[in-house]
Symmetry: C2
Subunit: 290 residues, 2 copies
């Protein structure tokens, strides 16, 4: 259970941070029931067979508890529970100070510092959460199912924006071909300015049998190679750090606002404004010590 | 045309502030087309007949322009255009730094400092805007029309929360009695802990003919008397000032975050984080000079 986002986070990150930076992060996102957990499980098996260690971060933005609700879903992962090469952590984000945007990179760093060269971030994707998780991952895999096109019309553009790899899971079901055509059409309408630009591939999988998981892993590898060759990986990580710094600064300033706007000093300032001894802007400046 | 919310606001408020505090503010809110402008016009006439001066602040949260869209609606107000005892200002809030919550009290202060004992804040009420305008007014009048009950189901609770006086305008139309019953039922379900607690009256008006406007003005006067007798007026204004101070502090801190997170110093910090010379939290603290 990780408790991230508060002040304790600072010390943990300070200690871990110099030992991070080697992990490659893969985000797996999509609607509930799309098969993300099973897919993650299959990927973990594949990575372990290749000899690498792997960390898994399961993010549940709806649960107020770390561990609980997600662990139920994690029963399948029991295969890996006794494998020291697999490090599984679940994280609830509801009520987290600073939210997912601050908590995710810190949780990833714990797995990174533990020496896992691969970190999979699996999330129950709901709108903004998908985007924030994508912001924390080097490669973002968006998992859809046959028939998907009808149900999430509104969110299609957002998914297209963040997807580096599309997976049609449960591809043995009716409608898989239509879903592929749908995705291909979306991709065709997207502008890829350069010939070298990465164009998200679409991979069919049946996670329950393991079918297509090898192809998915190759697609992730291809995307990583493309990011590294073009310098885009550095650019992404640079943008990510800048974004995180900005979020931390904002969080700190909000904490400061709460401090400033409470206690005796604030009461005194409010009373002075009410008595018209000072105007609200001057009072605010005085409170802030500027 | 008022340009409020930026840095210029500080100087204006600083100069005006000592001369404010005498005005009593009345918020008039309700759906577009409910008849707020006509009602405001009638109230202005009534106030002027009583010998008092009055300021009117028209808030349009959707318009990016000050003056324009609202002025069209203000043609009726032309009667008062040459009357020095009436001071009319319109304010657009879209894109305003700090938003309506910061801009409204400042605009009210301009009218207050101009010596108007009454300031009417008329707004095109759309959800949050109604609440923010109510926060700036001593008495909040919520204007509805017959048949209203069917259309704004979702917002009823919010209106009940802010209404000090309900007006059923266009009360000569079908459905006025049902709307009154509807409002009365809502009020009955509301808990008024003390016998002395103000219970929002419901006033029927036909703004186009002026019918009921006298009763509305008496209801506003009753509410003011109740607020003053109970000490609630002071409590409201105190809460308002505290809220405004908090908003200003937050705005200042956000401005500071934007400054901190730009320029060469920020680039250097981000690069140091990327090079793992410093962790993000320590870098943020260093940037903030703490």
């Amino acid at each position: 259970m990780l408790e991230m986002g508060g002040n304790g986070a600072h010390e943990i990150v300070a200690r871990l941070y110099p030992r991070t930076g080697a992990a490659y992060t893969i985000g797996i996102t999509g609607s509930p029931g799309a098969g993300k957990s099973t897919l993650t499980d299959r990927l973990v098996t594949l990575i372990r067979q290749g000899g690498d260690e792997v960390g898994v971060l399961a993010v549940d933005p709806s649960s107020p508890f770390s561990g609980g609700a997600i662990l139920g879903d994690r029963v399948r992962m029991q295969d890996h529970a006794t494998d020291a090469g697999v490090f599984i952590r679940s994280m609830a984000t509801r009520g987290h100070l600073g939210g997912l945007a601050l908590a995710t990179p810190q949780a990833v760093r714990v797995l990174d510092a533990a020496g896992k060269p691969w970190v999979i971030i699996e999330t129950v994707g709901v709108g903004q959460v998908e985007v924030e998780v994508a912001g924390a991952a080097d490669t973002t895999v968006v998992v859809v199912n046959p028939g998907w096109g009808d149900s999430v019309q509104a969110n299609k553009a957002g998914l297209l924006e963040i997807a580096d790899v599309f997976v049609i899971n449960k591809a043995d079901r009716d409608g898989a071909a239509e879903t592929r055509r749908d995705l291909e059409m979306m991709l065709e309408m997207t502008n890829f300015p350069d010939a070298d630009d990465w164009r998200p591939p679409i991979v069919d999988t049946v996670a329950t049998t393991g079918e297509g998981v090898g192809a998915l892993w190759r697609a992730v590898g291809d995307h990583r190679a493309s990011l590294e060759a073009s310098g885009e990986l550095d650019r992404r990580r640079r943008a990510r750090v800048r974004h995180e710094l900005h979020d931390i600064v904002l969080q700190r300033l909000h904490e400061r606002a709460s401090e400033i706007c409470s206690g005796e000093k604030f009461d005194t300032a409010a009373n002075a404004v009410l008595a018209r001894e000072v105007d609200p802007y001057a009072a605010a400046d005085r409170l802030m010590g500027s």
